[in-house]
Symmetry: C2
Subunit: 203 residues, 2 copies
DNA sequence: GCGTTGCGAAACTGAGTCGTATCGAAATTA
DNA sequence: TAATTTCGATACGACTCAGTTTCGCAACGC
């Protein structure tokens, strides 16, 4: 054997265009960001927006749902850098990226799809959660575990419940809160209120 | 004037069937509960399911969105009876109806629509919020105000933030929580945790 | 150069939907 | 009874879209 085979032998013929592939994914996300739900998305609109023939899409994905699943899966969760000192500050940092994202139409609409069409397209949600939600959960879980170990949080704290309180509050504001941008100090206020509790301070 | 005119003079001809109207609304809600988003809903499917001609629908609503708006508006918020003694118990009662609702497909899917298609159909959301969300908010706000006044809650509490913590946590569980039914004591655990705070008890 | 494969554009089939119109029957008032 | 309005059913034209096929051209290995 003198000839080194490439690991994936390149088949004869013109190779598939990576540019086209990227354009298709991008057009899909853009249309979603403009407010399309999965069912309003049409392959024809995607092809047109991407400057691509329908053939090129169907050669890669066998149907619309597969395409959308792949498109959403390309979205990575941008995790903020965590100072790693104060648990409070790290929690604020984690919550604040949620707040910032609600101002971006792409994030907003993706969230809408995942929230609203979860039951109808389980594969979509499953994969999106794995890529975009799970990493954040893990990060927050680690921060809180650190807080429990280091005494900054209650030693018998139910960490999952604590995460639901923090994330849920921010989710609530993005959905039902006052119109317009969320206040810049919202993450801070949520974290402090959750840490302190609603009950009056024991005098 | 010897003849008393009815306030709304009945016009000649066959009167509109209330039964048909109810059947249309019901069919709409059923189709939504089966997982249809607004755009997947077709007037033809509604007519067929309701056992009604399309004409009968178009005579009452001029388009699909109007119909869906009316259908969702018929859903009233079932408010639990509040004992009015312990603020903690009342908050638990309020949260627990949220938990129970996630087990009902109709409530679940309506929630999905309102959450996921809010940006696309603002009129729909607006009206639904007024009918179904606002009454609960008001009830919870009153309970918390009572708690502040009565010393059960911190005197300088931001009531809106407190509501976001409680409702948001439950919302979070319904969306991202473990599959299957939510634990029966979830509302209780959320309320107690929120009241106490995550920070360790000051020794 | 030759064979192979991907490319975008366009045409096509078939299904589904909207909103309107028309039908004969039924329900109601006058 | 006559006039009016609604009823459910059905048909219609216009439109959108999915998914396939065909076309002539481009990009690659050999």
């Amino acid at each position: 054997m003198t000839i080194q085979e490439p690991v994936t032998a390149r088949p004869a013929g013109r190779p598939r265009s990576e540019k086209a592939e990227k354009a298709i994914i991008d057009a899909t996300l853009d249309l979603i960001a403009e407010g399309s739900g999965v069912s309003e998305l049409s392959i024809e609109a995607i092809a047109s927006k991407a400057g691509v023939g329908k053939t090129t899409i169907y050669r890669r994905w066998s149907n619309k749902e597969d395409l959308v699943v792949d498109a959403l899966a390309t979205l990575r969760a941008p995790l903020p850098p965590l100072a790693g000192e104060s648990v409070r500050d790290d929690l604020i940092a984690l919550l604040d990226v949620m707040r910032q994202e609600t101002g971006q139409s792409r994030s907003r609409c993706v969230m809408n799809i995942v929230m609203g069409e979860a039951d109808r397209y389980p594969r979509l949600t499953e994969r999106f959660v794995k890529r975009a939600v799970e990493p954040r959960r893990t990060a927050m879980r680690e921060v809180m575990a650190r807080g429990v170990a280091g005494g900054e949080l209650s030693p018998d704290l139910d960490v999952e419940l604590g995460m639901a309180l923090l994330s849920g509050a921010m989710l609530w504001y993005t959905k039902w809160g006052p119109a317009g941008d969320l206040p810049e100090d919202l993450a801070e206020r949520i974290v402090d209120q959750v840490l302190a509790g609603l009950a009056p301070e024991p005098a």
